[in-house]
Each structure stands twice: as structure tokens, then as C-alpha cells.
Symmetry: C2
Subunit: 470 residues, 2 copies
Amino acid sequence: MALADLVRIERNEDGIQAALGVLKQRFGERFQTGQSIREQHAHTTTYIPAQLPDGVVFARSTPEVQEVMGVCATHRVPVIPFGTGTSLEGHVNAPGGGISLDLMGMDKIVSVNAEDLDCTIEPGVTREALNTYLRDTGLFFPIDPGANASLGGMASTRASGTNAVRYGTMRDNVLALTAVTADGRTVTTARRAKKSSAGYDLTRLFIGAEGTLGIITSLTLRLQGIPQAISGGVCPFPSVEAACEAVIATIQMGIPVARIELVNQLQMKAMIAYSKLDYPESPCLFLEFHGTESGVAEQAELFGEIAGEHGGGPFMWTQVAEERTKLWKARHDAYWASLPLRPGARGLSTDVCVPISRLAECIAETERDIEAMGLVAPIVGHVGDGNFHVLVLMDPESTREIAQAEAFVARLNERALAMEGTCTGEHGIGQGKAKFLQMELGAGVDVMRAIKKALDPQNILNPGKIFSFD
Amino acid sequence: MALADLVRIERNEDGIQAALGVLKQRFGERFQTGQSIREQHAHTTTYIPAQLPDGVVFARSTPEVQEVMGVCATHRVPVIPFGTGTSLEGHVNAPGGGISLDLMGMDKIVSVNAEDLDCTIEPGVTREALNTYLRDTGLFFPIDPGANASLGGMASTRASGTNAVRYGTMRDNVLALTAVTADGRTVTTARRAKKSSAGYDLTRLFIGAEGTLGIITSLTLRLQGIPQAISGGVCPFPSVEAACEAVIATIQMGIPVARIELVNQLQMKAMIAYSKLDYPESPCLFLEFHGTESGVAEQAELFGEIAGEHGGGPFMWTQVAEERTKLWKARHDAYWASLPLRPGARGLSTDVCVPISRLAECIAETERDIEAMGLVAPIVGHVGDGNFHVLVLMDPESTREIAQAEAFVARLNERALAMEGTCTGEHGIGQGKAKFLQMELGAGVDVMRAIKKALDPQNILNPGKIFSFD
């Protein structure tokens, strides 16, 4: 993506300079304008070029977030919330400059209510930090995107991961949140009850809003009991289609699979080399089942039968924790395993999600396209949800390769839309997908714009994300 | 509730007369202004007095809904969507007059995608009609409010019911919807993929909006596979507290209970008499488990042990379908069973929902209040979610009794709020709870108002609901 494509927000130079002065005075050492810190806060993980903010505030509390918001509203300056910077769609870029609001200092676990299976945390807590903290309670938080992301960021991109087929996404696992809106007010979206019909669903409105409607300063999350028993394993298939058919049969039979992940042949080859796995170099499903001792054994056996009926197997599964851990570490390392497939390359990750009845067809067409274009692009997928990622490995310095990758992505997104799917299952729209969002939802985007305009009339909350301004 | 408390919307008499003329000409026999039809369309099930619309349009398609919306927008006339009229909070009342838009003629099941476990339907399909239609597919739609409501109405009030503890509420079971907005446009909120991060969650915005943001004309719903086996039964407890403790232990242990319903002593007495049940007259839990043959037996046995540890039992359970059906019919008939407790009375149903750690305390305090006031008011609860209903039986002609009931409800709602709960778990805000919503969410209500104003600047979509205009 050329930098020119990204910059659409005009800089309010006078306002920015005024805000920098005020924030410097107010936050002292917790306000930074050095090049390297600003670069780090526009770090975008993927190939999208960085667009630096003018300064970074390290906030420690909701009132501080309100203060920053107040200063920036007064001077009409963009505010970009920042967590771990692991988003894949340029969400932390500052196309019109402005202030990056680093929330990682807001990392308190405020309360854990074990009886209610919930907890309240600040947005800078990461998913791994939360699960480490919960270890002795018998509870865990299931949502696991690839990165050890902040929970505020995960809420803002409506993240999910490998467990979503069983436990849902961030949409389903946030009971309530507090956000500071563009006018500097603090809004709490719901109470701690497990369900509610109290007016508009503001919780869900802020989840996935990518920081464009407010800055999340607190989250109340649903927790799960750690299952009594877990079984899991790997099952090879002769083709991606056969694997997908087995997935459909498994879901339809109501087997409450906790994880069901597809790894295509090229990705499997990379993982075998990287993680020293002893599996065949063919498309595989990685699975996990949560339940009672007898329940997870029964589920694994049922799945093994289904796999056999679709030409797959043997399904090698285990209840031994160490073996499962090795397996899932290999799965989570898929990205790192892929890079040696093309040394020096950078990855561009796609994120389409389609109805599972169309999944086999969608992946097969995509694999043919990869082959026809001569791309190096392994595939992994949260196939229980119909969501898969192609990692296009390309030379970030080559205009030709970037153009080729963008053409491939456009075809993939359009293919998913034609199959009643979405261009993004879990990464969000950010900077790169505004035009596909328009193709996907049409008039719906106008409704989103109307809401954005009503809640942020100056367009200072993470401007240039979600919406294109063509 | 005195009628004076409800009427807050000034009638736009000229606009209404103009719209009536246009609609009469356009819809002929499918436009009605007779008293009895208008009365039926302001039927409010509970004690809230009816406020009649000026006319009723029986719509048959999305373009017709757009037409009605266009006429009403031109003449600034309220439009009130109507399904089965079984809402409990006066949602179908017309405080400023206007047009009731009856959607029950839009009752087509457009498609069932068995492989994807979803279907697309029109809003006038009822939950029972859908499940009857699905019978041969091995699939079902789990959300079951007491009434055989329309699915459009269920979405609009974010309804749930006895299965929500396992399958979630309407919030969790609508993949996408189409709505006609105040400016007459058709908006589709999402594609058919199981998850998405494509911009603001418009699906969730319309769910629970009570028809104040748009008229739902189509819904894509998630379906569930009919479980291989079901077990269920009734377990008596010495007290409501003991039953609630057993519920907490069950949820915390991760037993995937499909239904766990509390019936207090008075309600049990009424149900024993009405449904000829052979159970003790003490607080009881009604339970159901879904899974495999061995799984549901294991779950029932585990629950039996938990019940015993909390002084409850014996847990009498069965896998025999006829016995379970009798049991759940009795539970669903709880409302009708209650009425003979006070012949001639009308019921006022409350709907608080609290974190389950506070549930026992909330119900116990409420029972003491009922006793102190001498009310006849049985209790049933979806206790796995912390949600319970008190049915206050009162003489609708007695000003004193109405005032007494309203004072009781105010204390109950405030009690739930003080326990971090909500005034409504599944019935919605409607006309009666605007002031409790304000207490519950404060600044959040201002955000809701800003959205309402942005999307319906003339305030013609179901005005006078959710928001108070004091």
C-alpha cells in the first residue's frame, strides 16, 4: 500500500502545536515526542507504512484520559488509543498526526468475581497477564488472538482466535465497559448482570469501533471455568476440501469442539520444519475438546469417526498436557514458522470469513489463485467459524510485489463477499479495508458514519480508520 | 400507571390526517382504522393502559415498509412496528398516535442453510412457527420467551427465556438483519459469516432498540442442532437461598446446563394446583441438560450431588420425553397458574437481573418486601442468568393497589441496581422503565439519545419508548 493511499486527514498544525505545549506541561516525563517513541507507537506489524503521531501520552487513569481528550477536543487534534501495537490493519497510525494515547500503564486487575465468573480490568492488561493472574482461581479468559494483545485493543478490534468456535469472540465476552467519549465524558455501557435489555447495546457499539467512538478505560469480562479435562490432537486429510467437510459434519453434529484449526499443506511444511513436528506434510486439522474426562474422550472418538468418513485420519489425540501444549505452541508459532519460507520477506495477512458451507470452495479457489500468481502464501484457519488467514510473503521494497499482493487480496475479499462472507473475521477494517467495508455493507456504512458524526463531530477519535473519505 | 404518566408525545394532528388519507388510498383493505383493530394493536398484555394508533397498515414486503416509512416521514407521523403484541412494557402503545405497522403478514421463511446452522426469515415468523418448520431438519431455534412472540419483536426487545443460560439471548443468536430506517432506506447490518469485525456492530444496535431506530424486515438467525439426548427434572430445596447456592456451584463447575429455572414456594403451590404436579410445595429448581446419552446422564448426576451438598434433593430426573414435556409445559404455564391465586387480578411482571452472587440476597429481600406489603406475588426465575420475575397480582381498578405495586417495583429495581444489576434482563424498557434506565446508565442514556437523534431526527420511530422526555 502506497503511503499516499493512507494519508487522507489534513493536519491541524496550529492545534497540534498548542496541544503539544499543554500536554508537555501537564504530563512532564509521561509525555514524549522523541522520534523512536513516536515510531514505536505507529508500529503496524504488517506492511502498512508507519504514520507517526506528534507525541505520546502515557496515561495512568480514566481522569487522565479525560484530560487528554479535553485538550485534544479544545484544539481539534486527533487522539489514537494505543495498546500493544499488534493490530494488523494500521489501527495505530496517525494519518493526520496528533496524540498517541498509550494505555499500557492502565494495567490493573480491578476485581475478580469468581462466583459470577467475571472480572473488571483496565484496558492495558494483556490476555496472558490476565490468565496468569487467574491461574489459582480455576478460571480463564478464552479469547486468544495470535499476539499477546491488550484487552482494550482486543475489544476495539472485536478480536477472537482459536477458541471462538466454542467461547465466542470479544463481542460475546465483554459484559460492560467504560469509555471516554469525544466530549470528555465517561460512559459506562452496562451493569454486571449476565444479560440485559436496558436500551441500546452500547457495549457492543464500542466493541469493534476501533477507538473511533471513545477510549475504553475499563472492561468487565466474562470468565470460564477451566475444564476438568482437555483432549486434543492433529488429524491429516487428503485435501483442504475433505478437511472442511469434516468440520461441517462436526459442527452440525453438535460436538462442542473448543478449537478446530485448519493448516494447509504449505503451512504444515513450514511448521514441521520450524517446530520439529512429527506429522505428515498434508492439510491437517488441529483440534481440542473441553469437558469431563469421559466427555472429551467421547468427543475425540466421535471426531475420529467423522474424519475417517471424509478420508482423513488417523486422528492422533491425547489428554496429556505437555503434548497438547507443544501442539498449540506450534500452531500459535505459525506466523514465525512461515517467514523462513521466504527469508527477508514481510507478511500481509488476510482475514476473510465465510459461511462454512462455502469454506472449502473459498479456500480451494484461493489456493489456485496463489498458485497461478506464483505467490508464497501459507494458509491457517479458524475453520469452525469459516475464518481463514492467508499470509502473503512479499518484498516490502518491491512496488510490483505490493501491487500483486493487493490485487490478490482484492480478489480474495471480493470472493468472500460473493459467498455472503465478510472481508474481516477478527482483524478489523483499520486503514486498508474501508473500500471493502463499503462493498460489504453499503448503506450500513452510512448509518455508521451518522453515528460517528453524532458522537465525534470533530472527527478527532482515531480518524482515518474504518471509513474512507473519498 | 396512570395514563397521564404515559402521554408525553404531542399529536401532530394535521400530519396524521394527511398520512391517513395517503395510506388509505395506497393500501385499501390492508389499511384499517376501526376501533377494535386499533385497540388490538395497542394491546399491552399487562396493566399499562392502551394508547391507540390512528390506523393500522398490514405490510407484506420490505418495499411496503419503506413506503409507509416514507409517507410517515413526509408528514412527521409516528410509526409503531407491531408483531404479536405480547411485549410486557407497553412497546406497542401509540402515545402520540400515528400508524401501527403490522408485520405479521411478513411471515416467510426465506431460506434454511442447514450446513451453516442458520436461516433467514421475515420478522412476522413466530418462534413456534419457525421450530415447527425446522422439525425435519434436526435443527432448532433455542430462544423461548414465555409468549409465542414474533422473531422481529423478540429481536427488538432483546428477548431471551429459559434456554439463555446455555444458548444466549437474541443478542447472541442473530447473525444479521435488515431494517428500514427513518429516512426510508434499507440497511443490511452484516453478512452471513459467523463472526465479523467489519465496522460498528449494527446488528446489535438494532437488537434491543425497541423499534426506535428502524423497522426490522428480515433476520438471519443462528440455529442449533437438536441434541442427541436430553435429560431433565425437578429438585426441591429448603429455601430460595439454598437453591441459588446450588445454581452458583453448578455454573461454576462448568456443567453446561441448558435450563435452570427457579420457582419459589408460592409459585410452586400455584403450579401444583394448575398443572396437577406431584412435587413438594417448596422452592424448586427445574433443570434440563443437552448432550450425548452418557453426557446428559453424567450432568444430571453431578447436579444431584451438588443439590445434596446444599440441602436440596432428591433430584428427580428423566430422559423420557413425555415426562419432560409435561414438566416444561407446567413451567411455561406459570403465568396462567398464578392468576387463580387472586381471581380477577391483573399481573405486573418485573424483570430485574443481577450478578448471580447477589441473586439469593436479592430474591430473599424481595420476598420479605412482598410479605411486609401483603402482596400476592409469586416468583419464577432464569436463575442461571441471575434474572427473575415477580408477578404482582393486583386489582387494575384500584388506585391504591397500583400505587402500592409501583412502589414495590421501584424498590425492587433500585435493589437490583444497588447490586450491580439491571432493571430489565429481557423485557425491555418500553414506557415504564425510562427513569430506571436513567438511574442505571446515566451518561450512557445521553449517548443513546445522540444516536437516536442522528438516525431519527424527527422522532417518528416508536416515540416515547426507552427515553423519558421529562
